[in-house]
Amino acid sequence: MPLTDQRRHAIEVRDLTVAYHEKPVLWDIDLDVPAGVLMAIVGPNGAGKTTLIKAILGLIRTAAGEVSILGHKYKRQRNRVAYVPQRGSVDWDFPTSVLDVVTMGRYGRIGWVRRPSRTDKDLAVKALEKVGMDQFRKRQISELSGGQQQRVFLARALVQDADVYFMDEPFQGVDAVTERAIVEILRDLRRHNKTVVVVHHDLQTVEEYFDYVMLLNIRKIASGPVAEVFNSENLRITYGGRVAFLKPTASADITQSQKPG
């Protein structure tokens, strides 16, 4: 990575506004994410967390705003960005193998029409090893548990060999072992100075897993190091008067209702 990148922000979002039928779903978001942090995006349902990621990645039309990744316009930096969509967004009964799905992470580098090479497959296997799924490479994806599916998606993002990662609820519906494993991978990415942005639902684990956080509810409420901005005042603004959030330790009653099951 060029030295200049480290001085710049990994992600810079300016005045990002997204409207659906002229009704705003994200208003005027400014966001700077320094390189090498693990950032959680938290906020209530309908706060626009997924929309924000999709808007940054150019998957939906924005009404206004600019996004730059590592100092340049996003379009020029596509190969330095990886994306993990929500697990539920695809049909897991699709007739394809684990290795095949992970190889899709290489398609961006391969380009139109050309086929994945031996090297691409080898890289995919390596990524599967990293998430502890290499023995499943020939499996059909419908035979995987929720946690395994999530690991496969994670491997697909790892094989993109990016500098900035966007993950949409990677902990949704996974078992405790997988959750641990994913956290380890995230930390490993941070050690290599990668930047990871995670849409996160479980307020209880924010302080443990992440060092940076953004509180979002259509507008940005706050963003910064967890220690500075993840406090009861900001959480109350984010989640509205309905939630009396005091300290993370006293928050079991709130966060439990947001966890599945």
Binding site: D15, E22, D28, A64, I218
Partner: protein, 370 residues
């Protein structure tokens, strides 16, 4: 208008009414394509019942055909329950197979009778008045008219009696089960009605155009109202309208009446789609057009507010920069600024755009409102 013309239109109207009533619930329950499956797969039932009774006028034909219609519903449901295929694939598979069986049975064993495939598929309303019923030597009118009257009465009675249950089952089948309304019973009751209606109507309009009359008017009504009772009433009226328009359209072109009725269902749908108050395409466009300007003004205000007094103000708060920032073209950006000036939100001075107090209020309000 001759009496034959009058009778044809009367039958057409009755068919439209009979189809519209159960159609409302199919459309609301997102099962519109089930009508397609049912209307095709009644064919083998009809043929087998014909073989058994030897006549085309026996009520057993309606029973047999209705039974195969229900059988299709069951088959589709049990295939999709295996999770091997999605429901739409099951529908798309089941009805051609049933229909094929029917066609083959006719071709092999009934080639010389009136029951030919074209008439099943396309219907021939023009011939309906020639098959008449008489009682004690007195002519009572076309047989099709009496069949359709019976079907309309049954459909209307079913909906009237089970109105509350149908309403709940259409909006929330889980709740209906919890309240003990047996959605399965309602479901199969409704499916029986659809089958019986399709059987009775196919003679007049054919199996494909039954779909137009079952789905079209209710979907059109759905664009006009949120209330179930109004939707039923509107569906019936729109169906009748399509029937009469279709008849005269066909008369004018000397073409298939059923095809013309379906065409008119489409025409009515498109007209409503564009002109429906509130939800029509025209209304939505008009609203979006208006919203586009107010939205753009709000965004401009927020943008200016955001950079007001900041170091980058001189760069950010210019009309020229807006183009780049919002990806607006020059004309649009200019117009937004003009409108904002007219509305008293913005003033321009020294090449810079400045918010007025009202503009600041607009920005703050917009942010809070979101």
């Amino acid at each position: 208008m001759t009496s034959v013309q009058f009778e044809i239109q009367l039958i057409a109207i009755l068919v439209a009414v009979a189809c519209a009533i159960p159609g409302v619930f199919l459309v609301l329950r997102k099962m519109a394509m089930m009508s397609d499956a049912i209307s095709h797969s009644i064919l083998p039932g009809l043929v087998i019942a014909f073989f058994l009774t030897g006549t085309l006028n026996s009520p057993l034909l309606i029973v047999g055909a209705t039974a195969t219609g229900l059988l299709t519903v069951l088959l589709v449901e049990s295939i999709s329950k295996t999770r091997l295929l999605k429901e739409d694939a099951a529908i798309g598979l089941a009805f051609p197979v049933f229909f094929s069986i029917g066609v083959i049975l006719i071709a092999r064993f009934a080639g010389d009778i009136h029951l030919d495939v074209d008439s099943v598929l396309l219907g021939e309303l023009a011939f309906a008045p020639f098959n008449r019923v008489s009682l004690f030597g007195r002519d009572l009118g076309p047989a099709a008219m009496w069949t359709m009257i019976v079907v309309v009465v049954i459909n209307a009675a079913f909906v009237a009696v089970f109105y509350k249950e149908l309403k709940i089952a259409s909006f929330d089948s889980g709740l209906a089960a919890a309240l003990g309304f047996v959605p399965a019973g309602i479901h199969y009751g409704l499916m029986t009605l659809v089958s019986a209606t399709a059987v009775a109507a196919f003679d007049a309009v054919g199996s494909i155009l039954v779909v137009a009359l079952i789905v079209g008017p209710p979907a059109t009504a759905y664009l006009l109202t949120n209330r179930l009772s109004v939707m039923i009433g509107l569906s019936i009226l729109l169906g009748m309208l399509s029937a009469i328009l279709g008849y005269w359209f066909a008369h004018w072109l000397d073409a298939s009446i059923a095809g013309a009725m379906a065409t008119m269902v489409g025409v009515v749908f498109v007209i409503v789609l564009f002109l429906a108050p509130g939800r029509g395409v025209a209304a939505v466009w008009r609203r979006r057009y208006r919203q586009k300007w107010t939205f753009a003004e709000k965004m401009l205000a927020i943008h200016l507010h955001h950079h007001e007094g900041m170091v980058d103000e001189a760069r950010e708060n210019r009309t020229a920069h807006l183009q780049e920032h919002f990806s607006w073209d020059a004309r649009f950006a200019g117009s937004v600024v003009e409108r904002a000036k007219d509305d008293g939100f913005v003033t321009e001075g020294g090449g810079l755009l400045n918010l007025t107090e009202a503009g600041r209020a607009l920005a703050r309000e917009a942010i809070v409102q979101a």
